[in-house]
Amino acid sequence: MSNRTAGDRALTRHRLFWPVVVLVVLLAANTAYRPSFLSVQMRDGHLYGSLIDILRLSAPLILVALGMTLVIATGGIDLSVGSLCAISGAIACLYISRQPDQNSLGGVLTALALGLGVALVLGAWNGVLVAVIGIQPIIATLILMVAGRGLAQLITEGQILTINSDPYKAIGVGHLLTLPLAIFVALAAALLIAAVTRRTALGLIIESVGGNAQASRLAGIRSARITFLVYVISAACAAVAGFMITANVSSADGNAAGLWVELDAILAVVIGGTSLAGGRFSLSGTILGALLIQTLTTTVYAMNISPQTSLLFKAVVVIAVCLIQAPGFRARFARRRAPASAPAPVTEQPKEQVPA
């Protein structure tokens, strides 16, 4: 214990150390419970397996969480993404269901453009409320969270809209290069956002607005414009996620599509080490957080526990990860442990907090 190197300590202090540990523990638990968990099979030229499923199912969450990361980085929050998923999916499905030929690629593309367009408008509405009128983000987006569900149900007229369109279905369950298409979409979105924010000054500007919008404005950054922009990006991400969710089941349900996805997305962002206070963000952390949540959900399903009870596990994991990451919690441990001469045990204790 005493010969623990500085490198070890730096590793355990790393922002993403504990999320990774939890993810590995979850995967290990799955493998122990069901040894075939890690196997990936080739069938009909497509890869199949639990791991692939987790990746495919986490794609919508990753998308929503990426947009949410940028919003949270500016110190805001976007509660409306779940409703936006439902609205964009409902619009796309409604348009396709009205087409004479549901399989025409042009029709599907128009439907996607329509859904995305409406989502962008609603994102702009959020952005105006927050950036121009200056309403607290949590309330501004709460409006659309409540009303948006109603709008989605209005679009589908309270029914579950079922469509039969192969090109649209491909967004959810199609394959490309043996892997599900959804994974590539999520990956492309992640790379695009990473490139735009990390290869240009935009990421830094977003962080500075989150750190202090007033100071950033005085430093010559158009804070309001940046704030506006992140809500639009978040809405666009939510729209694509909505297409995936509805395409997965080839139907649009105004009530259930994207339900609670905003909460999962916020959790993913927080687990990924992005502070809710804003001013800093980690895209890789967010993706990791989203994967962690989806793995947890899949684990619970695989162990024959009811989906609702999975919330119990989610609560435990969330609290554990948040506590371990909280500066207050760490400081408390450090203070309590400080009189004991060796600094090494400081990072030892929290391991017990991690649920298997």
Binding site: I77, L129, I133, G134, I135, Q136, I138, I139, A140, L142, I143, L144, M145, V146, A147, G148, R149, G150, L151, Q153, L154, G158, G254, L263, I266, L267, V270, L276, A277, S306, Q308, T309, S310, L311, L312, F313, K314, A315, V316, V318, I319, C322, L323, A326, P327, G328, F329, R332
Partner: protein, 329 residues
């Protein structure tokens, strides 16, 4: 004399400003009721108002608890799940054959305990209320299905009596016992906020936690107290809901936290904390109740219009608060 009259005019001109949101809600409520009365003859029956109270008694109690939390500038997303969990636990324990009094005590203890724990995590570890109560929400909802995957009926004598007891006048108008309990909770909460030290602390901390701390106010204790109160109110709300439905269902009250938050905001409480009244919350709940009644009376409008209208009202009231210049962070 001049200073006195000056002060008087100043307080006079400042007072309505603080009351404008509440007065606006009152006006809205009257307009909505007027629309109802003018459109449907049966609407003017006094029982319609009583039914709004009967149907929303539990919502009112929970909203009162939420008012405390929002006044300190926090938020409690766990209330809907705690309501469901309380109803579920009481239904389960009653089925197991425990006496009603004991069940009542146990059920009423769960909510405050969870609230207390969440308050402690929020205060001591400095984690956002949003995240902590979100975890609390997941936990409570998970517990519901952990107890039972399907709904449990309640056939206990005390519960059925509380459910069916009607308190009314000879002409046939009545309220349920739940309404009386809800009113009692409202009265106690209003008194606590207006006339006790705890209530003043809640307003002070909501106004500015930093200066509250510098003034020597027990910030931590108050903050933990409001989440405990909210948990207690959610527990009472859960009991009232189990009186109302005579069952515990794992998926009942899903999304109720949004209705509750909407009611509090429409009632004029500012979400950054420090300004608002329990009376406003009562009006907010009534507005939601009357909208639902209107939509029921209409028959051709569908339930999703409720959500759209509530969203629209939220927007209008937030804009109103903004216009009359109540401070936003």
């Amino acid at each position: 004399m001049t200073t006195l009259s000056l002060m008087a005019t100043r307080t006079w001109s400042r007072l309505p400003r603080r009351h404008v949101p509440v007065l606006a809600t009152l006006l809205l409520l009257l307009v909505l009721y007027g629309v109802g009365v003018s459109q449907y003859r049966a609407f003017s029956n006094i029982q319609v108002i009583f039914n709004v109270f009967i149907d929303n008694g539990f919502l009112l109690v929970v909203a009162v608890g939420m008012t405390f939390v929002i006044l300190t500038g926090g938020i409690d997303l766990s209330v809907g799940s705690v309501v469901a969990m309380t109803a579920m636990v009481s239904a389960f324990l009653l089925r197991e054959g425990l006496p009603a009094a004991l069940v009542l005590v146990i059920a009423l203890l769960i909510g405050p305990t969870l609230g207390f724990l969440m308050g402690c995590v929020i205060h001591f570890f400095d984690i956002q209320p949003f995240i902590v109560t979100l975890a609390g929400m997941f936990f409570a909802r998970g517990m519901c299905t952990f107890i039972s995957g399907s709904s449990i009926p309640i056939s206990d004598g005390f519960w059925t009596r509380m459910s069916q007891q009607r308190i009314g006048n000879p002409s046939g108008n009545f309220v349920s016992i739940s309404v009386i309990i809800a009113f009692a909770v409202v009265a106690v909460a209003a008194y606590t906020l207006a006339y006790t030290r705890l209530g003043r602390n809640v307003y002070a901390i909501g106004g500015n936690p930093q200066s509250g701390l510098l003034m020597g106010l027990p910030v931590g204790r108050t903050r933990i107290a409001v989440y405990t109160i909210s948990g207690l109110c959610a527990a009472i709300g859960g009991i009232l809901l189990s009186f109302y439905t005579l069952s515990g269902a794992p998926l009942i009250a899903v999304g109720m936290e949004l209705d509750v938050i909407a009611a509090v905001v429409i009632g004029g409480t500012v979400l950054t904390g420090g300004s608002g009244y329990v009376f406003g919350t009562v009006l907010g709940v009534l507005v939601l109740g009357v909208i639902q009644t209107l939509i029921t009376f209409d028959g051709s409008l569908n339930s999703w219009w409720t959500k759209i209208v509530i969203g629209g009202l939220l927007f209008a009231f937030i804009l109103l608060q903004r216009l009359i210049g109540i401070r936003y962070k």
